[in-house]
């Protein structure tokens, strides 16, 4: 077990930057999740930590030791793959024993440790099965046991839940997180699924175009998105595009709102659907809007509200007794607490 530091980690393929100057520190026992759309560089970053991709620049330190130039088999990282990658010609027990054998552990010590690792993932009774005789969820548990049994310095998880169906995904998700906390192991996971990221991580890293866009807790990312990109990627946001001038925000569609943000010129305002207040009557700070679409999801209802010919926002209301459930074509009045505004030109510009 150890901490992990990535310093100025860059990978170039010709002119293409797979990652650019990635700077991260994972504390001992912390669960860090790299989140981003496909092609954002999260997998390249993980593969550089594992040793399968040589960084063009920068360094990787595990437990204070520089491993940048070490091959994968000398790094002591436990890697869990999306497609399990179990050895099909070995039994479950042999799969789990492999890492111990590679470390020259004595035979009589291997068997009990394999058994312990399998008990950890509740598969102690299936030690003699072959991977092909097991379900996807069981196989991924075996892969987890195989990656943990030799007590790696860092556990690396590459989209470990993507091949599982929805129900299993929830189960294995909780299991991985519980194990990681119980063993106090440092872990880095890559995912494109924000729900997965939000429920498992101690801290999250949002990446796009090979760069780290924001690092923080779930709350940090949700409440204080650093850029328009993060606001759109973590949780849901509706965006109003317009211009800020003389303390007013004006959209091309004619919507005008008071605005005290320190931004001048073209700007974007990000609104969280669940932070909106919808009422039948005008109230302080409210804007009228026409209901254009109603998405009834049981406990929650999404209202698509047209505020002007160019401005459409989504408001989410909870389906409680006495809540206002408007119909198509109704006019309602919507307001929101302090929203975040971003300069319009660059999706990665800092917000206010």
């Amino acid at each position: 077990m150890a901490g992990l530091q990535l310093h100025g980690l860059t990978k170039r393929y010709g002119d293409f930057h797979a990652t650019q100057n990635v700077e991260l520190e994972v504390k001992e026992g912390e669960f860090l999740v790299l989140l981003g759309p496909s092609g954002c560089g999260k997998t390249t970053t993980l593969r550089m930590i594992a040793g399968f991709v040589d960084p063009t620049e920068g360094s990787i330190r595990i437990g204070g030791k520089d491993v940048t130039t070490l091959p994968p088999w000398k790094r002591n990282t436990g890697l869990v793959f999306q497609n399990y990658a179990l050895f099909p010609h070995m039994t479950v027990a042999q799969n789990v024993a492999f890492g111990l054998e590679m470390r020259g552990i004595a035979k009589r010590e291997i068997a009990p440790r394999v058994q312990d690792a399998l008990e950890l993932v509740q598969l102690g009774h299936l030690a003699d099965r072959y991977p092909r005789q097991m379900s996807g969820g069981q196989q991924q548990r075996v892969a987890l046991a195989r990656a943990l049994v030799f007590r790696p310095d860092v556990l690396l998880l590459d989209e470990p839940l993507s091949n599982l169906d929805a129900k299993l995904r929830h189960e294995v998700r909780i299991e991985i997180r519980a194990l990681q906390q119980r063993l106090g192991i440092t872990a880095v996971m890559v995912t494109h699924d924000q729900e997965e990221a939000l429920t498992m991580a101690d801290r999250l890293v949002v990446m796009s175009d090979g760069q780290v866009r924001q690092v923080g807790s779930q709350r940090d990312l949700y409440e204080r998105p650093a850029s328009r990109f993060v606001a759109g990627f973590v949780g849901r946001s509706s965006f109003l595009e317009g211009e800020i001038r003389d303390g007013r925000f004006t959209t091309p569609g004619g919507l005008t709102l008071p605005c005290d943000k320190p931004i001048r010129g073209p700007a974007v305002i990000a609104l969280r659907p669940e932070r909106m207040t919808v009422a039948a009557q005008p109230h302080p700070g409210s804007v009228p809007g026409e209901v254009e679409f109603v998405s009834y999801m049981g406990g929650l209802i999404d209202l698509h509200l047209r505020l002007s010919p160019t401005d459409l926002v989504v408001a989410q209301v909870s389906n409680r007794e006495g809540s206002l459930i408007p119909e198509l074509g109704d006019t309602v009045h919507v307001s929101w607490p302090d929203a975040t505004a971003f300069p319009a030109s660059d999706p990665h510009a800092r917000g206010h």
Binding site: F52, A85, M102, A147
Partner: protein, 292 residues
């Protein structure tokens, strides 16, 4: 009650007729063109040879007994098996790394590389053997250059030797082995290797513990293919081995030329049976090893 209507039944029968119409010709060709001559040869091999009458109808194991009791024929038999095994081993050793590179390359020229492996198959064995002759003969390219570079003083004669034959057969068989192994290795995902690396296995250990055991069943197919080709090689041993060098296929042909049909039929059957037995043995051995 399930009931098939009359029209459905007619349709089914029509489908059956179409299917037999499609399979028929191939079946017929195999039956008449392969099995027929084979049965005829089997019958011939039990006949007896007479210098004047050529073939005398009989039911005798005489030809087979003659083959297995004569050191001349036996040594040819063992030479053929030895050379075939040797060539097959060389093909695996040379073919595996090449097949691995072909299977794992991300290069956009991958298809060109595969074509490069296949192209030698476009050239007939006899033409290729002729090529080796110009390269390996005592006044051939290799010998001349070795002398010119001062590495040897006398002409080097590689032609008309076992070495030349092995070289020739390996060159013919290698593409088959490489293509078979390539598809075998491709079917073993790269992530399996990466898993082994991340668990602490260095490349050679990964190969021995993971890649090779997983590739073994598929490799058997390549081994069988190249072994059968080597056992039955004709042009290469004749052209590169010279008159003193003997393998089974040329010997069968020679016996036919001497008009000794019964004996050459018997030799043909010995070759076929031994190839079959060794092939089956190889299959059983690898399967057992894979289970362990």
């Amino acid at each position: 009650m399930s009931s098939i209507t009359l029209t459905e039944r007619r349709k089914l029968r029509a489908q059956g007729l179409t299917a037999s119409g499609l399979i028929g010709p191939a079946t017929l060709i195999v039956a008449l063109g392969v099995l027929g001559p084979l049965l005829l040869l089997a019958r011939y091999s039990l006949n007896l040879y007479d210098p004047r009458e050529l073939m005398i109808s009989a039911f005798s194991a005489q030809n087979y007994i003659e083959f297995f009791s004569d050191t001349y024929y036996l040594s040819t038999f063992w030479t053929t098996i030895r050379i075939s095994l040797f060539c097959t081993v060389i093909c695996i050793v040379l073919g595996f790394p090449l097949a691995y590179v072909l299977a794992r390359t991300q290069s956009r020229y991958k298809n060109l590389m595969i074509i490069g492996v296949v192209i030698p198959l476009f050239v007939g064995n006899a033409v290729r053997a002729a090529g080796w002759m110009t390269l390996l003969g005592s006044r051939g390219f290799l010998s001349v250059w070795l002398m010119r570079l001062g590495i040897t003083d006398e002409p080097v004669e590689i032609m008309y030797s076992e070495t030349a034959v092995i070289l020739g057969i390996v060159a013919v068989n290698l593409p088959y082995m490489v293509l078979t192994l390539q598809s075998v290795i491709e079917s073993i995902g790269r992530h399996i290797e990466e898993a082994a690396f991340s668990l602490g296995a260095a490349p050679m250990v990964m190969f021995r513990r993971v890649l090779w055991p997983l590739a073994l069943p598929g490799t058997t197919a390549g081994v069988i293919l190249t072994f059968i080709l080597a056992m039955n090689a004709y042009a290469t041993p004749v052209l590169l081995g010279g008159p003193e060098f003997r393998m089974m296929s040329p010997m069968i042909y020679n016996q036919f030329q001497l008009n000794n049909w019964p004996f050459s039929a018997a030799v043909a059957f010995v070759l076929m049976a031994s190839t079959l037995v060794l092939t089956v043995l190889a299959g059983i051995m690898t399967r057992q090893k894979f289970r362990d």
